[in-house]
Subunit: 446 residues, 2 copies
């Protein structure tokens, strides 16, 4: 559900009033439902490299309406800008100006996607400049798009083709309504691992997934989304939330595990439960987390330690058990919930930001350890999400916070859940050690 | 000079009005003047590692009033938090709570500085989590500090001691009024190179420095600052700006070189001029840059190419000449001016952001090439700076843009210049391939 203001400015009267007063005009975002078509219009693939040709051919095989050149005035679902062979900033001109000509034809909730390569892997200063130039370009362009359209980029490691499984997986995710609140972001694909699912509506079929903090809010929504995508669920939360946990478990036909994740044996108990009840363990989503906000000048030991213990120390301990387990070795997936507060800091949240920064450091350092088992670990960093927690923020503060992004609205718990479901899928097998923001390109100050 | 609003709220009446209305209350920042003491009060060094002991001893040798434990209610110039041996997020608690107790005693324009190590170089997930936790912590704390106080961090490569020359150089820079508008940032020191200057008031004595785009604005201010710090200046600008260029050259007793930096021979002409007129070339500041703002949907070839050519292609070409020259091999320094727009993107600036992203990519990729000559290349990324250019932004837009940072004000050209002067100095010899924002911890949206 869109917030009240967003509903208002999307009525006929509200639209005209908002326009006259120069108020924000957030669009109602297209969100994913099972069976929904990937896109509802033509997709233009801009770029004249063999990589662009191959990607266009692949998208054709998905039965998309693919154009290699835009047809004037035809409304477009997406523009894909393939920049996989840039060697110098001067080479940006031709493809970006070709794409510019189609921007006005992008549908509401349309997509702009760049495919380029990471600057850090460039072999010369001019290639690095061109590659990093795509970054500044895309982030600017994402701020110019309107009506719920988003711009995101896929970064292909030097050896990675435009048609590798996880590049296609990332392109599919960014094209789809699953990525509604992901905007102005880049996702790196570093290996040829991964595979597109046989059934795109059930990408997690056959998988057993654990979600911590699943009794309510974003955690419960993650459980619903993984269930919808075909996974069998183990739902973890503290005993005090037992009733709510049981209710979510019923809803998604999963099993509930009451557990304090900060316990020394939490990891082993999670593994034992999953294996004994469901025969395997494929996916762990570290969602459980708390806030205890306080200016640092007033911070006390109890608030500091509680947040550090639950939000990061517990994840580290559980991961150690997972990495040591013989039951977590068949393309395992860990996805952690970080926060834009951990990236940019947030007033009153030194403890929370330290813990969420910690999650991101942990994810990057754990990635090589999981790779040896063909696994991945990644994080999502939500920005302002409409939850019971943010609903308690005073109105004026909340109203500013939720508009301070390129989509001029807060995200939904489902936006975080969809991104986690994607990172947990086989289609994301070549994506490891990454942090993907789900924030509408939030103005976060870092 | 502070902007009019900042002057107003710092008057007796203005302060009381702003407080009652809940308006931003930007402080007048302490800025550097030759001969000014480094700090004007005690400095507390928090942390119980040998690295903390050694840093405290070094600061004592600078005649600072160093405390290993805060004295209750004593006003402090700075708190330095040494976190150089963190192995687990749980180890953050003791030092950060010790520092928290002193936050209320920080003077106006006081300093909080962390010393920690880069998460990417950690040997375990728990160490990486602890190190990245410092990032979230510091960026949050910087947003909590008031009255012109700032928080910044130094990241010490694994082999780098707390008393290495460039760590001390970075600590000195962050302590000093030179870093007035640098806030919420980290600076990495990766080698033991560098040396503190014999005379801290003339750190560039004996150096010959080239500044492009020096006829006005930030470029002219860079020239003045490098001159004040002891450098001999070569001032470069286009022939059309010849009169202004000559005037700045007169002011700083340097020589003027009228030159189109996009010319194929620009690099060689710069080298020839510096060597023929001044006998050497030590420092090149790539400051020249232009904007040609336009939404991408309306972008034309001329606007796109002009910005790319001047802002990044010219720097690449000049650097090639510098790297090939036998006259640029004695601890050479290149400092480029990037922009927070290149980091986060900016509406209407796809071309500019691509070019400034390009500058950052170029800097990172050129760093290893310069390192072989004992040299460094770094970039500064200014946020909202009070210049003739920003003065032309409509009042309301400008007023919002300049307050959207932790210091609630725009920076001054001198803030950019001071940061460049530091990166150009011998004291920054261990800092290479870095981008340092001069933005007051701007809310930039990336």
């Amino acid at each position: 559900m869109a917030d009240t203001y967003t509903q208002m400015v999307n009525s006929n009267l509200g639209r005209s009033v908002a326009r006259k007063l120069g108020l924000p005009q957030p669009a109602v975002l297209r969100r994913y439902k099972s069976g929904q078509p990937l896109v509802t219009g033509p997709v233009v693939v801009v770029g004249d490299t063999p990589g662009a040709d191959k990607l266009a051919a692949e998208l054709l095989s998905w039965d998309l309406d693919v154009r290699r050149h835009a047809v004037p005035a035809e409304k477009l679902a997406a523009i894909i800008l393939v920049l996989d062979e840039l060697e110098h900033p001067a080479e940006l001109e031709r493809p970006v100006l070709a794409a510019a000509g189609s921007l006005r034809d992008l549908q509401p909730c349309g997509r702009l996607i760049t495919l380029s390569r990471p600057a850090a892997e460039a072999s010369s200063p001019h290639a690095a400049a061109a590659r990093q130039g795509v970054d500044g370009f895309l982030r600017s362009l994402a701020k110019e798009l309107r009506a719920g359209a988003t711009g995101n980029g896929v970064l292909l490691g030097n050896g990675t083709a435009t048609t590798s499984p996880s590049v296609l997986g990332a392109v599919r995710f960014f094209l789809s309504a699953r990525s509604a609140f992901v905007d102005g972001q880049f996702l790196s694909v570093s290996t040829e691992d991964g595979a597109l699912p046989p059934d795109p509506d059930r990408p997690l079929a056959g998988k057993v997934a654990v979600v911590t903090g699943a009794a309510r809010g974003i955690g419960a929504e993650i459980a619903r989304t993984l269930h919808r995508d075909g996974a069998t669920l183990v739902l973890v939360d503290i005993p005090a939330a037992g009733d709510q946990l049981a209710s979510v478990a019923n809803e998604v036909r999963g099993t509930a595990l009451q557990l304090d994740i900060t316990g020394a044996d939490a990891g082993q108990r999670i593994i034992d439960h999953a294996v004994q009840r469901h025969g395997r363990l494929d996916i762990v989503v570290h969602n459980a987390g708390v806030t205890r906000d306080k200016l640092m000048a007033n911070m006390d030991q109890a608030r500091w330690n509680l947040v550090i213990n639950i939000n990061i120390a517990a994840q580290l301990r559980i991961n150690e058990a997972l990495l040591a387990s013989e039951y977590f070795r068949s393309t395992p997936r860990i996805v952690s919930v970080a926060s834009t507060s951990g990236i940019a800091g947030n007033r009153g949240q030194t403890n929370y930001a330290a813990s969420k920064g910690g999650v991101m450091g942990m994810v990057r350092a754990t990635a090589p350890l999981l790779a040896t088992a063909g696994g991945t670990i990644n994080a999502v960093a939500p920005g302002f999400i409409e939850t019971d927690m943010t609903a308690r923020i005073p109105f004026a503060v909340r109203e500013v916070a939720r508009r301070l992004n390129s989509l001029q609205q807060g995200g939904m718990p489902s936006d975080v859940a969809e991104t986690i479901a994607f990172l947990a899928s086989d289609a994301a097998g070549g994506i490891n050690g990454q942090v993907l923001r789900v924030c509408g390109q939030n103005l976060v100050g870092a």
